[in-house]
Amino acid sequence: MSRNESSDKGYGLSSEGSPGGAAVLSLSGRLTLASLEAFRREASALIDALSPSSLSLELSGLSSLDSAGALALIRLQAEASQRGIPVAVAGNSEQAGRLLALVEERTKRGKDPLPAAEHLGIFEEIGVNVVSLLRGVVDEISFQGELLFDTIRGCLNPRSVRWRDVLFYMRRAGVNGLPIVGLISFLLGFIIAFMSSLQLKQFGANLFVADLVAIAVIRELGPIMTAILVAGRSGSAFAAEIGTMQVNEEVDALATMGFDPMLFLSVPKLLAMLAILPILTIYADLLGILGGLVIGVTALDLTFRSYMAETHSVLSATVIFASLIKTVAFAVLIATVGCQRGFRVQGGADAVGAAATSAVVTAIFLIIIADSVFAVILQYLGI
């Protein structure tokens, strides 16, 4: 008889019997998850060494058995039976017996795993992505068309538009955005004036800092920075809001109650964008010029009057109007991309996050593309 017990592994295992004859394995202590692997190694080694004609598992000394331990015992039994050794279990407590029966019965009737979603090869992956990209472009264009159509319909029938929502989004995207848009525009004007003043001073061309700031801010930086900030603040919020409603089946609920989700959710957002983006841009232009003015007056010995007169001389109503036309296009892009990404959400919370990210990235990308197109067109028109 050999005996092997150690307190740190939790269980004790002793064997009785001679090689080739009937053997008894007696278990004591705790046979649990923690001691599982040690037990299996030890028990297999014992059976290998004894290769008994029959095996009896004596469990009366076990103080605790969990489902992992039960599985180990069942597998030990199966292993022995496979080698033609009959196994008997004895001395188990009522509780241990129930657990052994439960684990045995359940593992026996286990089903084969269903296949997981298959992984695509690299070429298939590329193909699928290209197709979905093209489909995304088509979706985006048709969504834009639908939204513009609905907006016009809404304007022809003003009672169908939720004007309170329009005001709400105007406040959230416009009024709440004033501090950040103002600060960034002011600093942009300030930086342009500061950097260019270092060069222009050398030629005594101090006054032209005003021209530079006015043209840069009003033609390009004002509209584009404002649009990017609004896309980041509000485009993502639109996508997340509609996406969450999609996940919570709120959009479906609206549709079944007879509301047009487009008219209900998207049109107010687009109208709010169309209203606030030009205003925010003018505000950003003013603060950008103010930033240049601060440098002009403090570092370049220009007077307030001469700086403003110079600014006035390079600007015309056409230039300002052309830049505002751009902001209208940007407003449409931000609202449609935000809403479309929201409506496209399927699945759970992670899809909402992805939609918000995608709304911002796509909107900024499209804003830059649109801006380049405008730059070329305005150049040819001589504005």
Binding site: S64, S67, T107, R109, D112, D350
Partner: protein, 260 residues
């Protein structure tokens, strides 16, 4: 790390003078009860009475406003991280929607506590994962993502994960809510067989009457207006003998106006 097994009948959770709620909003005041090893203990009551809050207090997710709670011998009411850590490794929790991590397959979800808290080899863990999933009759879903399985399957997978470390104490939050009657019955039978098989103590929050009568050894009844426990005991006995109209209406599925 190995602790002596729990003897049936000894208190596993001891709650004394517990007040719970959020800030100024007290949901229940000064409640006390014991949960004994090996029993299926159901916390029940109407909507808004604080059932789920009580469960969250017992598992240490929400701090109590007052009172003492001992779980598996550890005092967790002070919010000490050391005490909580000792308790967390010995409890399993099934959340209302399963609480599965969406980015991992069902099998990986079940393997997570084992690979985190034990040093078993990957092969053994995989074998155990298959066994746990077989216990909840879900061995076919081992490679599927949570988004590919139904609500009832998610709950069973969540139960398999809660069982991963064979905890002596299991908390189940609304295990059968939102399931069809057959699936709900299957889940109840599963809970009973696991309770009998593993001898683990189960604390269940539910308001499904059929489920309560099937699985509960003992219940406490929380009431929103009474702000505390208005009944405690075997639900079948309470149904037939309780003189409190709130308790007997609830357990007999009657509204107050139907009392003749």
């Amino acid at each position: 790390m190995t602790l002596p097994p729990l003897q049936p009948g000894t208190p596993v959770i001891e709650v004394d003078g517990l007040t719970g709620g959020y800030g100024d909003r007290v949901l229940f005041r000064d409640i006390s009860f014991r949960i004994l090893a090996g029993e299926v203990f159901v916390i029940l009551g109407g909507s808004g009475c604080g059932k789920s809050t009580l469960l969250k207090i017992l598992i240490g997710l929400v701090p109590p406003l007052a009172g003492s709670i001992r779980v598996l011998g550890q005092d967790i009411s002070s919010g000490g991280e050391k005490e909580m850590e000792a308790v967390r490794r010995r409890i399993g929790v099934l959340f209302q929607a399963g609480g599965l991590l969406n980015s991992m397959s069902v099998g990986e979800n079940v393997a997570l506590p084992m690979s985190e808290h034990t040093d078993l080899s990957p092969g053994t863990i995989e074998e155990l994962v298959r066994m746990k999933l077989a216990l909840v009759d879900l061995s076919q879903a081992v490679d599927l993502l949570p988004s590919e399985i139904s609500g009832g399957m998610k709950k069973r997978a969540g139960l398999a994960r809660a069982l991963a470390l064979d905890p002596p104490l299991l908390f189940l939050d609304e295990p059968s809510a939102g399931l069809d009657p057959v699936t709900s019955l299957e889940l109840d039978l599963l809970i009973m067989s696991i309770n009998e098989g593993t001898g683990s103590t189960m604390v269940v929050v539910t308001h499904e009457l059929d489920s309560i009568f099937r699985i509960a050894h003992r219940v406490i009844f929380l009431d929103r207006d009474g702000m505390g426990i208005i009944a405690e005991g075997d639900p079948r006995v309470l149904r037939d003998t309780s003189r409190d109209p709130r308790v007997s209406n609830f357990l007999n599925r009657r509204t107050a106006s139907q009392n003749g």
